[in-house]
């Protein structure tokens, strides 16, 4: 069976800058949730950007396949249409673009790219409202410019809403817990858990174990100095909470 995501010997650096990812191997199968934990500066966010196709990073070695297709050859929008979704650590504010307008543009662009029929506005609005309800997102918020003036919690719920609407096959959650209080965290985690399925894989990137109490991973990786230094089960996260990352940082160095 083809893996959902296969990363082989990946090396990446900021264009013209320092090396960030240094020999990463990772396989994510459908139905699995992988947590990537590590100290600040380990390259966790870079990994999420490299997977999503953000310009400004240079892949110096290695390969990445999504369902057997060469992911690195695709632009960011093509990757999204193929099912990659990055939930941003810091979702961007776009004044002048209503949230609903943005959702419609994204949803229909992906459909178009896959040769599927676009959804009519009333149908789309209905679908968005249903999801919004489960995430305690007020329908007034959908009319507001994207993320403008949203609280940290509102932004993360909005990311979750997008994920639920777009139904990606690979979700990459970058520090989804940052800036969230415990109530907001629960709402977001419930939204994410609702998306767990045998057809979908997830990579949950986090510094803290807290998030993993709510989104329980199948596999936990410790990521330090640009590569995976240890892999274990869900209990590894709790162990890390007790011991910290110091031992891995010295090992990697």
């Amino acid at each position: 069976m083809t893996a959902l995501l296969e990363i082989k010997g990946l090396h990446a650096e900021i264009s013209g800058g320092r090396k960030i990812i240094q020999g990463l191997d990772l396989t994510v199968n459908k139905g699995e949730i992988h947590a990537i934990m590590g100290p600040n500066g380990a390259g966790k966010s870079t990994l999420s950007y490299v997977l999503a196709g953000k310009p400004g990073y240079e892949i110096t070695a290695g390969e990445v396949y999504l369902n057997g297709e060469d992911l690195l050859a695709m632009s960011a929008d093509e990757r999204a249409a193929k099912g990659v979704f990055l939930a941003f650590q810091y979702p961007l504010e776009i004044p002048g673009v209503a949230t609903l307008t943005f959702l419609r543009a994204a949803f229909n662009a992906q459909r178009k790219a896959r040769g599927e029929e676009e959804l009519s506005s009333p149908d789309l609005i209905k679908r968005v409202r249903e999801i919004a309800k489960t995430l305690n997102i007020d329908s007034e918020m959908l009319k507001r410019p994207l993320n403008v003036g949203f609280s940290g919690g509102e932004k993360k719920r909005n990311e979750t809403l997008q994920m639920a609407l777009l139904q990606p096959s690979l979700c990459v959650l970058d520090e989804t817990d940052s800036g969230l209080d415990i109530d907001a965290l629960k709402v977001v985690a419930n939204g994410v858990n609702a998306l767990r399925s045998a057809e979908r894989g997830m990579i949950v990137i986090t510094h803290y174990q807290r998030l993993l109490d709510y989104i329980v991973p199948d596999i936990v990786h410790v990521f330090a100095a640009g590569r995976i230094v240890r892999t274990g089960g869900a209990d590894l996260a709790r162990e890390l909470e007790a011991t910290g990352y110091a031992q891995y940082q010295s090992e990697a160095a």
Partner: protein, 441 residues
């Protein structure tokens, strides 16, 4: 004075136009004298060039190679073309007045059932009658040291006069459509006057359009005289043909405790100069002045605003945005003057340019001239490219780059469009924006 500068071909051509036309241009003795004085003022300085501060970025002497002959009165074919011309405001239910090749055409205009208090008249008739109001207006409030405006005063043959009696609130907007139909390039000088009485209210939309490929020349001026406690919404859309020269002047004199909303939108023309001379003459007046330019190819669009706070407690907001692609160039010059005694003036000006290519250019020159000591005035300017982070965010959601850029451009210019209080106007401007984005693809 220094060395006499040799007159350019265009200047000689303009002198010929005036000499040839002055005997039959509409106007009695008084108007004729105003015209002669205006032409003398133009003649003394000639076409403005870059050493004239107000025209620093738009060197008309270099850019205007010749003066096209004056447009002849529209024949049936021209009127038919005007009738079929695309109308951004079609279906909005506005009262439409049509100016074809510089001439007011009553049979294309909706003059039926004028609301009580509303008077509409061709400018040519008003000039011929030598109305004192017009001769005063033509000569007086106008800062006629501007050479382009002086030319307009000298040569304006027609346009429209709209009078709204005091206390009359017009709910139906008036759309003055200036349509050029000639493929053979000509020049058109039009002058219009809108007089809004005290406590009255009106929405006036001006649109300017013409054929692509024709190097026609438009010099148009609109005077707004707005009484105390009146409200005026004035929207001007320039979607001239791709080779056209458009010089437009807005002269606004606003009374006390009035509301003045002005919105200029440029999405056409080869060389566009939009100049606004605004005087907030009475105390406590609120003005919102916005402008949006969408430029591509080799277009050059210059918006030059001069606003004077002449009385106390006035508030004004000036917001100008330009989207500039290819090798186009956007110019914004904005000057806020606060007269002595205009205390508690609150004025804020902002201009922003979004550059879509490395060769695109935006020039911005804000100025404050303050002669009162208890005021709040400020200005800001930004110029930048499309934000890569925002672009990535949209692309990461599956939106292809061209569409993502279009969305960001819409968002950028949306702030200008939202300034229009009338929904049909906002829809029309959004339509113009989408048309422009579509042509870029």
């Amino acid at each position: 004075m220094g060395v006499a500068i040799r007159k350019t071909k265009a200047e000689l051509g303009l002198a010929d136009l005036y000499q040839g036309a002055r005997r039959y241009l509409p106007g009695g003795e008084e108007i004729t004298a105003v015209r002669a004085a205006a032409f003398d003022r133009f003649s003394a300085v000639g076409l403005p060039h870059r050493r004239v501060e107000a025209w620093r970025y738009t060197d008309l002497r270099t850019q205007m190679k010749e003066a096209k002959r004056l447009a002849s009165l529209p024949d049936d074919a021209a009127k038919a073309k005007a009738r079929e011309a695309k109308d951004l405001f079609a279906g909005a239910g506005f009262r439409k007045l049509v100016i074809v090749d510089g001439a007011f055409v009553p049979e294309l205009s909706d003059l039926a059932g004028l609301e009580p208090g509303l008077t509409i008249q061709p400018m040519a008739d008003a000039l011929a009658a030598d109305k004192p109001l017009l001769s005063q207006r033509l000569g007086a409030i106008v800062p006629d040291d501007d050479p382009a405006l002086a030319l307009n005063t000298a040569l304006a043959a027609n346009g429209v006069v709209i009078l709204v009696a005091p206390g009359t609130a017009l709910s139906r907007p008036i759309h003055v459509a200036f349509v050029t139909t000639n493929w053979v390039a000509t020049s058109m000088f039009t002058r219009s006057l809108v007089n809004i009485g005290a406590g009255a209210g009106a929405t006036i939309v001006e649109s300017h359009q013409g054929p692509d490929g024709s190097e026609y020349q438009v010099n148009t001026a609109m005077q707004l005289v707005v009484g105390d406690e009146a409200r005026i919404d004035h929207i001007k859309v320039v979607s001239e043909g791709g080779s056209a020269l458009h010089i437009g002047s807005l002269l606004a004199n606003i009374g006390a405790r009035a509301t003045f909303n002005q919105l200029g939108f440029v999405a056409g023309g080869s060389l566009v100069r939009n100049q606004l001379f605004v005087r907030l003459a009475g105390e406590g007046t609120v003005a919102d002045i916005r402008g949006g330019s969408l430029l591509s190819g080799t277009q050059h669009a210059d918006t030059t605003l001069s606003i004077e706070h002449a009385a106390e407690n006035g508030q004004s907001r000036e917001t100008f945005k330009a989207v500039v692609g290819d090798t186009a160039r956007a110019v914004f010059q904005g000057k806020i003057t606060v007269a002595p005694g205009a205390q508690k003036t609150d004025a804020k000006m902002m201009s922003r340019a979004l550059l879509l290519s490395d060769e695109a250019e935006a020039d911005s020159k804000p100025e404050l001239e303050i002669f009162a000591d208890d005021v709040q005035c400020g200005h800001g300017t930004t110029t930048g490219a499309i934000d890569d982070e925002l672009l990535f965010y949209l692309m990461a959601r599956g939106i292809p780059p061209a569409e993502a850029k279009a969305l960001l451009i819409q968002a950028f210019i949306g702030e200008i469009i939202e300034g229009a209080a009338n929904e049909s106007v906002r829809d029309a401007l959004t339509g113009a924006l989408l048309g422009w984005l579509g042509r870029r693809e």
